[in-house]
């Protein structure tokens, strides 16, 4: 299946290889965490995930065609 | 009818005040705005938005016939206004403001600029938006 990841701008500043979005191929039953790994993001790189205007948990199963917005961790000012 | 406000969602950022002053006076000066955000934090955990609702009560109060309504918008003619302040006392909402550098009261003329940038989208839609577009 395919999942689209959209990356927050502050995240793209840290990881040069990221564009505005990326489509990743995953096995059925894969989680958001595996989607991030497929985009070559190390653990802890991402602060919050959003999908359909709600928070998406890192261990949540994703589905074909899902769009996930990946935001960087906040940096406390 | 003036600006339709969802007051409970106001965050008190006062962006509307500075936008208003920029649009109408070309100045970074929120004290020259036709809108005021008033803190009610200490007692009620919220903000009040004070702005003219174009009710027109000031029109009759004005001794100089300087205030009139056209297309639902109440405006003050600075040429006729003597800055006597009677309208300020007559306003049921306290929505006419004074500034030492401006020789007439300042009020909302429904220009719509604050609505365009309000981060919460709570200043609008403007009831008189049709007229506003004609005016543009």
């Amino acid at each position: 299946m395919r999942v689209t990841l959209r990356f927050g701008r502050a995240l793209r500043e840290i990881y040069d290889h990221l564009g505005e979005s990326m489509e990743v191929r995953l096995k059925e039953g894969a989680t958001a965490k595996e989607a991030l790994a497929a985009a070559n993001l190390p653990e802890g790189a991402c602060g919050l995930l959003l999908t359909d205007d709600r928070l998406c948990k890192i261990d949540e199963e994703v589905t074909h065609g899902q769009i996930i917005t990946v935001l960087p961790p906040v940096s406390g000012g | 009818m003036g600006i339709d406000i969802d007051v409970a969602r106001c965050t008190g950022c006062k962006l509307c005040q500075i936008v208003c002053a920029i649009a109408n006076f070309g100045e970074n000066n929120p004290k020259k705005a036709g809108i005021r955000i008033v803190s009610r934090l200490f007692t009620e955990a919220r903000y009040d938005i004070v702005v003219c609702d174009q009710c027109g009560e000031c029109i009759d109060a004005c001794p100089s016939d300087a205030i009139s309504m056209a297309s639902g918008v109440v405006t003050i003619d600075p040429e006729l206004c003597t800055n006597c302040g009677v309208c300020i006392g007559a306003c049921p909402n306290g929505a006419l403001f004074t500034h030492a550098e401006v020789d007439h009261p300042i009020k909302c003329i429904l220009c719509g600029e604050c609505e365009r940038l309000c981060p919460r989208g709570i200043l609008g839609p403007l009831a008189a938006s049709d007229q506003r577009e004609v005016a543009d």
Binding site: G8, I14, I58 | T11, G12, P30, F42
Partner: protein
Amino acid sequence: MYGYAGKILRVDLSAGKISHEPLTEELVDNYIGGRGFGAYYVYNEVPPGADPCGPDNRLVIASGPFAGVFLPSGAKTSISAKSPATGLYGDSNVGGHLAGELKYAGIDAIIVEGRTPVPSYLFIDDDRVEIRSATHLWGKGAIKTEEVLKEELGDEFQIATIGPAGENRVVFACINHDFGRQAGRCGMGAVMGSKNLKAIAVRGTQGVPVADMDGLKSVATVMFRELMQDPGLKIWQDLGLAQVTTWANSIAALPTRNFRENFYEDVNGLSGELMKETIVVGDKACFACPMATGKLCKASFRGKTVLVEGPEYETTALIGSNCALRSIEEVAFANYVCDELGLDTISAGNVVAFVMECFEKGIITKEDTGGIEAKFGSLDAFCDLAHLIARREGIGNILADGVAGASKAWGEESSRIAIHVKGLEWSGYESRGAPSMMLAYMTCDIGAHHNRAWSVTHDIAVGRDIIKGKAAKVVEFQHVRPLFDCFGVCRLQWVELGLPLEHYAKLYPVVTGMDDSWEDLLVKSERIWNLTRAFAVREREDFGRADDWPPARFYEEPVPDGPLAGFRITEDDLNTLLDEYYEARGWDENGRPKAETLIRLGLENVASELYKMGRIS
């Protein structure tokens, strides 16, 4: 001069004298504003060896060119002085609506010196400036004081206050503003209290002239539009900074039980999501900010229900997990207690956690605490200790000098677990597994604070066990991030939502009319960084590398549990980080700026002064 009001207000409280001085182009050109002005006046006007709580210290309250102007969140006021916590240069900034109001009142900065014989507050209404009696306010809470003054003067006045902690010169007393925003760090509230200055109230009606209004409108509109279309904005409006708590825990950086651990098993009770569900009653923003990170919360404890702004992440980390509290409502209540007393929540959380660990280890007993059962997880103990600290009563008199002061009283074993650098308690990121962040804390000019460089994501991106090559990133951040404190604008729109720096580079010329490039501005930031370092070198003959060293806990104890269990950073690692850092900065191996570095940055007079004193070569 565009972007500035053009005047400095000087208030000599001893003489009761108020004067206006012109803002000079030289000052603007070299130091920009905000923290830059603070560094300039503190270096040039506070005599070496001055008591931070004596009349010779200066309290500099400075706005910057972007404050009060039509652009995202020109809301920041920098407050600087010689810090009673560190004995070195200190500053802290606060959002809300004060920075713009100062400029609308026609002043870019206030310099407060001396001490009034009676409790007073400073009243500023455009050009009318008075030192007024505050005897009716003395002893009142910081928020209560603001409420009373707002009732007396009107809502249009923007007000900064101190609580009892500031009056009693607690070295981590903060300055409060706009209900629940604080200039929290470095004990600026104690400096204000030592001057018998309870509050500052300011109202202005003047505009801020800018060089190119059309240019400003076009850049600012683009910035606002980009922010409002950002996919992350809604989360910010919903959760504010509280969203970071569970993330910090997941990457093993959440201070837990006095930084012994960095992973908190009860983190779900402290999460931003739970906070929104259970205690948030409203959102609150600083001037012209779409993010609205302020969360108004209701919290109950001991039969009392309070309204408080916060807790944000730092408070949740230092008072929550670091004192092992179990619910966000408990943290919110503790936040209220600190706000009203006028205590910095970051330092207060550190101090109480330090007491709790010393109590657990038997370094102190109930005899020392005056009967308080100072156990991890006890909100009762937190509240009782906070009140004692603010009044300097009993154990509170020792704790009012911070963990550095208390550990001097309680001996070597306690100093290993006193979590501070230079005397300032550590903020919310445990950094054994983030070497660049560790270096950022070690070298931050005001002590262990994260605001100058926050580089945890850099450690995650390039490797958490990598030491070499990390200093450059820290130096880079230490120049970029403080620029925002000079401009008088908030950083969050850039660091959190990724608003490009290019926008800020474009704003500078349209606001000020000056043609500085971004690189020029970074040089100014580096100049300021070296000036605050020079202040330390001038202040203390023995100032140097040892002052950039973290507490022993961090290199003696490996991470005990959680995702990074067993992870450690060694003294060799720390030395490598410092060596690289000093080299990158043009400082000697003891961390003192070389004369050539100061001269390169236009600080010839400083170089010559320190050279004559034999402090640099």
